[in-house]
């Protein structure tokens, strides 16, 4: 077994009394691309956390390059050539992109950090792997997609031998994903090994040699990807057949629920939304497609009251809602699943049930004369945990201890159960497993079928095309096109989005 770079033997990890990994064994060969597939909370991140030195196994052994490795911390794992791109980014918001990439591995010159050399090295890698990043931007100012690229660059910069990508594609656009696939193949050709975690079966088919399926902390199977169908993978993972069809009813779509007129919004001193018009009718899902960073985040922030509108009007049910507080807007009937669940959607050190009432705690019956009814909060919490299948130990567990997909389910549960007139969903299924995607899609569709409006902003073109009644393409803060999802393929939509971008760039050159 000489070409086994990594061997994990009989690994068990117990949190308190909960077995997150149960006697898992895993092998990784030189140059191999291994996919890990499993439901939310199956234990994938936990397993990889142990391989990258962030967690310690309760029992079991990790062998790297034939030698047993006692990894006490991430630094030692790094020294053994293991680089992990975490599901939730580990970046320092106040630092620049460059500082974040070199942190812990700063090149020195006469005892001082040699920023020039660092920048040159990174630019070389960026060129080689076609990763577009702005080294001088502050991490707090960049989009989630860009943060993901920065994380990938961090691993490349450290010249790892084994790359662990924990759901790297959840926040990337299709173009970026195909770019990442290319990078992954290139790395494998250079003899590096890769472990790739994703919930998207298509990606597994495209990139991986082998796929290990984990369910409830145990390895279910290890299969050769070329010989296994997507449906079979899905079935293996959830334990039963998955239904991808969706029930799109005919509904009355005449009423304007939500209307934006001539909206302009500024962010960081730049005009990010320019004179934008957009309408959502009753019983309609409007998909917003576009390359990341073209004003989608600013649009959502402006609508939900987190960012000032420069000019224009936003109307819900015929009433103006701009220039109002976030709470007033929410009360008027807008809910929002934000794109950044960890920093915006949730308060991680609070419990699941507290997070579930984050938008309603101040109202009766939860709040009574200034006192909170915790009995009710926890009861409601238990009910929603069951309803939305949030895999957890109890409603009093801290949200920060949940797996990524289950954190997402908490946000979705809270926002959808508010029964809003307009639901804004930004990448609502980011990081959730196939079964949960199915459920969330169903719920969004229920909103629509009940005659409410939905604004769906997503990088998942297939999701947009599947759910939307109408799709608009956003570019440079404006709506530049509209398509009918029934007769457009995701390739065509992707081309349209990219085309707009390219045409723009060509224009700039000439």
């Amino acid at each position: 077994m000489e070409n086994d770079i990594v061997q994990m033997k009989n690994i068990t990890k117990i949190f308190g009394s909960y077995k997150a990994n149960d006697n898992i064994s895993l092998k990784l060969k030189k140059g191999e691309i291994l996919a890990l597939l499993g439901e939310n909370g199956a234990g994938k991140s936990t397993l990889m956390g142990m391989l990258s030195g962030l967690l310690k196994p309760t029992s079991g052994e990790i062998i790297i390059n034939g030698k047993p490795a006692k990894m006490e911390n991430p630094r030692e794992a790094k020294a053994l050539g293991i680089g992990m791109v975490h599901q939730h980014f580990m970046l320092i918001p106040a630092f620049s992109v460059l500082e974040n990439i070199i942190l812990g591995d700063e090149p020195l010159k006469a005892g001082r950090i040699d920023y020039k050399k660092a920048a040159k090295d990174i630019e070389f890698l960026a060129g080689k792997y076609h990763l577009e990043i702005d080294l001088n931007a502050k991490v707090s100012d960049i989009t989630v997609g860009m943060q993901q690229r920065v994380e990938i660059m961090k691993a490349l910069y450290r010249k790892a031998n084994v790359f662990i990508f924990d759901e790297p594609t959840a926040a990337l656009t299709p173009q970026e994903i195909s770019q990442l696939m290319k990078i992954t193949h290139a790395l494998s050709e250079e003899g590096k090994s890769i472990i790739f975690i994703t919930h998207k079966l298509k990606e597994i088919k495209e990139v991986a040699d082998r796929c290990v399926v984990i369910r409830m902390g145990k390895v279910i199977d290890s299969v050769r990807v070329a010989e296994t169908k997507e449906a079979a993978l899905a079935e293996m993972m959830v334990g039963h057949k998955v239904n991808f069809a969706i029930d799109k009813k005919e509904v009355n779509q005449e009423k304007d629920i939500f209307k934006i007129e001539k909206l302009s919004v500024e962010a960081h001193g730049q005009l990010k939304i320019k004179n934008l018009d957009l309408t959502v009718h009753s019983g309609e899902i409007v998909g917003v497609a576009g390359v990341d960073g073209n004003g989608q985040s600013e649009l959502i922030e402006a609508v939900t009251g987190l960012r000032k509108c420069k000019t224009g009007t936003i109307m819900l049910n015929g009433k103006k809602i701009q220039h109002q507080s976030a709470r007033k807007i929410a009360e008027a009937g807008i809910s929002c699943i934000p794109e950044d669940r960890q920093n915006v959607g949730l308060i991680l050190p609070l419990t699941i049930s507290e997070n579930l009432v984050l938008k309603s705690y101040y109202k009766k019956p939860i709040s009574n004369k200034g006192f909170l009814n915790y009995k009710k909060i926890n009861e409601d919490g238990r009910r929603m945990i069951k309803q939305f299948d949030i895999r957890s130990q109890s409603e009093k567990e801290l949200v920060g201890d949940l797996s990524g997909g289950n954190q997402q389910k908490v946000v979705v549960a809270r926002e959808i159960s508010a029964q809003p007139d307009l639901l804004i969903a930004a990448n609502p299924t980011r990081g959730v497993d196939i079964g949960a995607i199915e459920y969330i899609h169903e719920k969004i569709m229920e909103q629509r079928n009940a005659g409410h409006g939905v604004l769906l902003v997503s990088f998942e073109l297939e999701e947009i095309l599947k759910l939307s009644d109408r799709v608009v393409v956003m570019h440079e803060g404006q709506i530049v096109g509209e398509i009918d999802p029934r007769d457009t393929s995701s390739e065509e939509l992707g081309m349209l989005m990219a085309g707009k971008q390219q045409a723009e760039e060509m224009g700039e050159i000439s």
Binding site: S45, Q87, H88, M90, L306, S325, P338, I347, F371, D401
Partner: protein, 361 residues
């Protein structure tokens, strides 16, 4: 799981305390003093008889309240260093009220004095909270400045308005306004123990309820843990900041008011900021800002201070050794992250640093 977490929470302060005492013992040995004898004196001098116990409890009363005050602001994510100023304002407010309305019925007089003191303390930190919320001014700087403004303003006021010519302190308040009643004096062998202690205990309970059961407390915690998410959830973050600072100042002010009515009975010109304001911060840190923990931490600090007095009475050991013990304890609490890492290693449970939940602030 929750169980082991709270256990770990207790381990850090306990280890810090033990380490502080060990350092004190080593120093005493190095300089030829007897640590066992001295620690014994310390214990007897603070808790050994009813009089010392009374003194220790009296001394811990304002500590509890200034610590609670610090804890409230710090739960909201702010570093309120204004405890000393707010305490002084509280003390001043209570004495002024008691001097001006000596003819009120006892209960009204005492409640009025306490409320007046607490309110002055509250207003004092409200100013910092307001500046922070609406102008982004650092509360660290404003509270430090407000400390000095309080000190010099009160010195001025005492000299010019309250004290008779040539004197540096106000007259004493009427006897019935005092929290130190004859009954308690008899009970504790003429110590300065007073009703304020019970008021402080009730306040701890109230604050515990405030954080764990009330809407406002929930908002304060949310804002402290994640301001962006709170804003997004519709919490009025600015108002919450102001409220947290107000509550924080009310508590420190109440501490001052109780000390004024129960301990000093008057107010005098002073050169320095009262140390109890700063010690409250240390107590809160040792207790990890837990209201119940604050009671025990305050007891420890107070016992060290009161017992320390008798160390130099019964031997020639300098009583400063107690300050070293206190300082070491604070130091070890400060580096608790080192302990936590060590514990995590031993217990093979690095719970808070999972790949998914690694954003613990």
């Amino acid at each position: 799981m929750l169980h082991s977490r709270s256990l770990k929470g207790l381990a850090v302060p306990l280890i810090s305390i033990a380490a502080g005492f060990i350092i004190g013992a080593i120093l005493m040995l190095m300089f030829g003093y007897d640590p066992i004898q001295n620690y014994q004196n310390l214990f007897i001098g603070s808790l050994g008889d009813i009089y010392s116990l009374g003194e220790t409890l009296r001394n811990m009363t304002p500590l509890i309240l200034t610590a609670l005050g610090f804890a409230v602001s710090s739960k909201a994510g702010f570093f309120n260093i204004g405890g000393p100023g707010q305490y002084l304002m509280g003390w001043f407010g209570a004495i002024v009220f008691a001097l001006n309305f000596p003819n009120l019925p006892t209960v009204l007089l005492i409640i009025g004095s306490l409320v007046c003191g607490a309110l002055l303390g509250g207003i004092w930190s409200l100013i910092a909270g307001f500046l922070r919320a609406y102008f982004g001014t650092s509360e660290v700087i404003t509270t430090i400045m407000l400390n000095y403004i309080a000190l010099y303003f009160i010195n001025f006021a005492v000299k010019n308005w309250l004290a008779s010519k040539g004197s540096d302190s106000s007259p004493n308040i009427v006897k019935k306004a005092s929290l130190n009643t004859e009954f308690l004096q008899k009970l504790t062998n003429n110590s300065t123990f007073n009703w304020g202690f019970f008021i402080a205990l009730i306040t701890v309970f109230v604050i515990w309820i405030y954080f764990n059961k009330t809407r406002s407390g929930f908002e304060v915690r949310s804002v402290g843990l994640n301001e962006v998410a709170s804003l997004y959830a519709g919490v009025n973050v600015k108002r919450t900041i102001v409220v947290a600072m107000l509550v924080s100042g009310l508590l420190a002010g109440l501490g001052g008011a109780i000390d004024g009515l129960g301990n000093f009975q008057n107010i005098s010109v002073s050169n320095n900021l009262p140390s109890v304001g700063f010690n409250g911060m240390a107590v809160a840190l040792l207790a990890a800002e837990n209201p119940i923990g604050i009671i025990f931490a305050a007891l420890l600090f107070s016992a060290l201070q009161i017992g320390g007095l008798s160390i130099s009475v019964y031997s020639n050991t300098p009583s400063e050794i107690v300050d070293i013990v206190i300082a070491s304890i604070i130091f070890f609490v400060g580096i608790k992250y080192v302990f936590e890492a060590a514990l995590a290693k031993n217990w093979r449970k690095k719970q808070r640093k999972t790949p998914d939940g690694g954003m613990d602030k």
